[in-house]
């Protein structure tokens, strides 16, 4: 009851309250009273210089609750095909039992959450692990692209030029993390962009924006004080498949050795 009332009241008073209380009001007045996020973003984007940034992400495995909201948000934000074979990010669930056997599942990438487990007995440890493109500093996918259709930007993000990709799928084969797929509509390679269209406007990637527990920490590795900097300072970090020397920029804290 209380909740419904809140919403009703908030709806009525919102404009007034906003002008009275919110510090951004001044800026909103500048852009013409009507609050338009797009204009704010445009201003941030105009001032954007890629050479001043280098992006990375931290993942706190111990905080992930496997709700799959990141997967949902990613598909919405980036127009990823809804079929269960195409993911820019997905969540895995690990079960390690007493005899050291490990089972992993990720039904539909975890987008609808996870079904109740049938094997609760004998669990030694169990946890969720979000996965995405690692935006490697030495990306094997970029190395093998025959035409320069996938590349590392000046701010360290790996992107695909879908108007130039020939669709040879060599990059999909070369990625050790299964982070790439071929969009059945464009027949070109697709992958996580760290929501490049958002981060260059000063926003957070969609998956980070919606992560309810803060298991994903996005930031600029060149910035000395940021949530990501703190994450790097205080946590013991690990990357995926370090023996392949791809130098990922997605850092996991509390990562289990069974995660590949």
């Amino acid at each position: 009851m209380e909740g419904r009332e809140d919403r009703k009241q908030a709806g009525m008073k919102s404009r007034r309250d906003f002008l009275r209380t919110w510090p951004a009001a001044g800026l909103a007045l500048l852009v013409g009273l009507k609050f338009k996020a797009v204009e704010l973003w445009a201003a941030a984007e105009a001032a954007y210089n890629p050479r001043e940034h280098r992006y990375g992400m931290g993942i706190d495995v111990a905080k992930c609750i496997g709700c799959g909201r990141c997967v949902e948000a990613c598909k919405n934000e980036n127009d990823v095909p809804r079929e269960p074979f195409y993911f820019r990010t997905w969540v895995e669930r690990y079960f390690i039992n007493g005899s050291g056997e490990t089972t992993v599942d990720s039904p539909n990438g975890g987008i609808e959450g996870f079904p109740p487990t049938t094997q609760e007995k004998g669990i030694l440890r169990t946890f969720f692990v979000p996965k995405l493109c690692n935006h490697c500093d030495d990306p094997p996918c970029v190395q093998v692209c025959p035409v320069g259709a996938t590349f590392s930007t000046e701010d360290g993000v790996i992107l695909v030029d879908k108007d130039y990709c020939v669709g040879c799928r060599y990059c999909v084969q070369a990625c050790p993390y299964g982070a790439r797929f071929v969009d059945p509509r464009t027949k070109t390679a697709e992958k996580c962009t760290f929501c490049y269209h958002r981060i260059t406007k000063g926003m957070q990637p969609a998956c980070v924006e919606v992560c309810p527990t803060g298991a994903r920490v996005f930031g600029d590795l060149k910035q000395r004080s940021s949530p990501l900097a703190r994450f790097q300072r205080f946590r013991k970090l690990h990357t995926l498949k370090p023996h392949l020397n791809t130098k990922p920029k997605v850092f996991y804290a509390d990562l289990d050795e069974e995660v590949r």
């Binding site: 993911f87 093998v144 035409v147 669709g167 040879c168 050790p176």
Partner: protein, 425 residues
């Protein structure tokens, strides 16, 4: 989406969600198979030209034409497989020098124009001039155009042709190695995939290419001789069978080395690869590739061909029976090598890079990447070869001769050339 949903049901263990779709289909199996035949056929031709194996003379020109026919078709499965074939030219436009695949265009162009076309041109130049003098109509014009308007038949010009041809063949041998070793490198350099990632991959590819090329020429030689109702030259056939045996021994040893090495090192991937071989690849790898495609032909050739005992084979059989057994061995080898390509290309995609599960490959029947298209692409080289043979008859008895006093003895090596060959070999 239906086929992918179907595959999802047959996945065992865990695979990354993006791995349900298998990315390189049967068309990509064809590509190394076809380039292997090219490289093998060319190496066989160079045995005649550079290493002076006189017995194989009847297959020399046929090998060159076969290499050309298969080389023309080799990039087609790649092109058909691209998501955007209309953008393929970008590989020449903005080649990424770090990409093994980008180099394909250049290796291919080099091999096609600088090696094969030039060698064939120099080899046939004299014949084309002489043929065109006696022909009428379209053939005459085609031959005249192909001479590029040079009708010089002087002894000096002919000697230049021969020398140029020999030099090109010498350049051609490393080029053929490059062409197919490079195809092996495309797979061998993918560090993300433990089934592919191996330094031995280019070498294994190369020797299996030589095996498949010699087997192909053995089959083609028998078939064309039969069609022309000529007598098969048994000395030539025995020699082909012997070389086939030697190449197969090397190929088999290398594959076993690779196998034992993996087993002995037993890296983190060994468990899933063991499952892969024992389940998904059991028939195509253990039965077809190893048993039918390698061990049985090896035994057959060891017993029947003069490979081990040049003067007296282990089993002295009448010509007719020996021919049949050669035919059988070569056919088995072709199937085996195709299987080898299958096991590399498809096998390497049947396990998850999480090393926790196996998926399946559902081959389409029709459709752009189906069995039907693959079959067509496999037939195409034979059609092209038929046209080439009509245009440039490769038979010894079709060769045109300049009046006798102009011919120099062939096949005599100059000392410098012999030295070059020795280092190349």
């Amino acid at each position: 989406m239906e086929p992918l949903a179907e595959i999802l049901k047959q996945v065992s263990g865990y695979i990354y969600p993006n791995e349900v779709e298998l990315h390189w289909s049967i068309l990509i199996v064809l590509y190394p198979y076809l380039t292997g035949l090219v490289a093998g056929a060319f190496i066989l031709a160079s045995l005649v030209r550079v290493f002076n194996v006189k017995e194989l003379q009847p297959t020399y020109r046929l090998s060159l034409l076969a290499a050309l026919a298969f080389l023309i078709v080799a990039p087609l499965p790649l092109l058909a497989h691209l998501g955007h074939p209309e953008r393929a030219f970008e590989m020449f436009l903005t080649p990424n020098v770090h990409s093994a695949m980008a180099m394909f265009g250049f290796v291919y162009a080099w091999y096609l124009t600088v090696v094969l076309l030039l060698e064939i041109w120099f080899d046939y130049r004299k014949d084309m001039i002489l043929w065109s003098e006696q022909e009428t109509g379209l053939r005459r014009w085609i031959h005249r155009i192909l001479t590029l308007g040079v009708f010089d038949l002087t002894e000096k010009a002919l000697r230049f042709d021969r020398n140029a041809g020999r030099i090109i063949t010498i350049v051609g041998i490393p080029s053929a190695f490059l062409l197919h070793g490079y195809v092996g490198f495309i797979f061998g350099s993918v560090k993300a995939n433990p089934w592919w990632s191996s330094v031995l991959m280019p070498i294994v590819f190369l020797f299996s290419a030589i095996v498949s090329g010699i087997a192909l020429m053995l089959l083609l030689y028998m078939f064309t001789t039969l069609i022309r109702s000529k007598q098969i030259d048994m000395i030539c056939l025995d020699k082909l069978a012997s070389f086939l045996f030697y190449a197969l021994i090397v190929d088999f040893s290398l594959e076993m080395l690779d196998f034992i090495h993996r087993l002995y090192e037993a890296e983190e991937s060994i468990r899933i690869l063991g499952q892969l071989v024992a389940s998904r690849l059991f028939i195509s790898l253990v039965i077809v590739q190893a048993l039918m495609g390698t061990i049985i032909p090896l035994i057959l050739l060891a017993l029947v061909s003069p490979a081990l005992h040049p003067r007296r084979p282990l089993l002295k059989l009448p010509d007719e029976l020996r021919r049949m057994l050669y035919l059988g061995a070569a056919t088995l080898i072709q199937i085996g090598i195709f299987s080898t390509r299958w096991n590399v290309v498809i096998g390497g995609q049947l396990f998850s890079k999480s090393l926790r599960g196996l998926t399946v490959y559902k081959m389409q029947l029709l459709g752009g990447e189906g069995l039907f298209v693959a079959g067509l692409l496999l037939m195409l080289p034979f059609v092209i070869l038929f046209v080439l043979i009509k245009l440039l008859p490769p038979w010894l008895d079709a060769e045109a001769h300049v009046p006798a006093e102009e011919i120099e003895p062939e096949g005599v090596l100059q000392p410098e050339e012999a030295a070059v060959i020795a280092t190349e070999a």
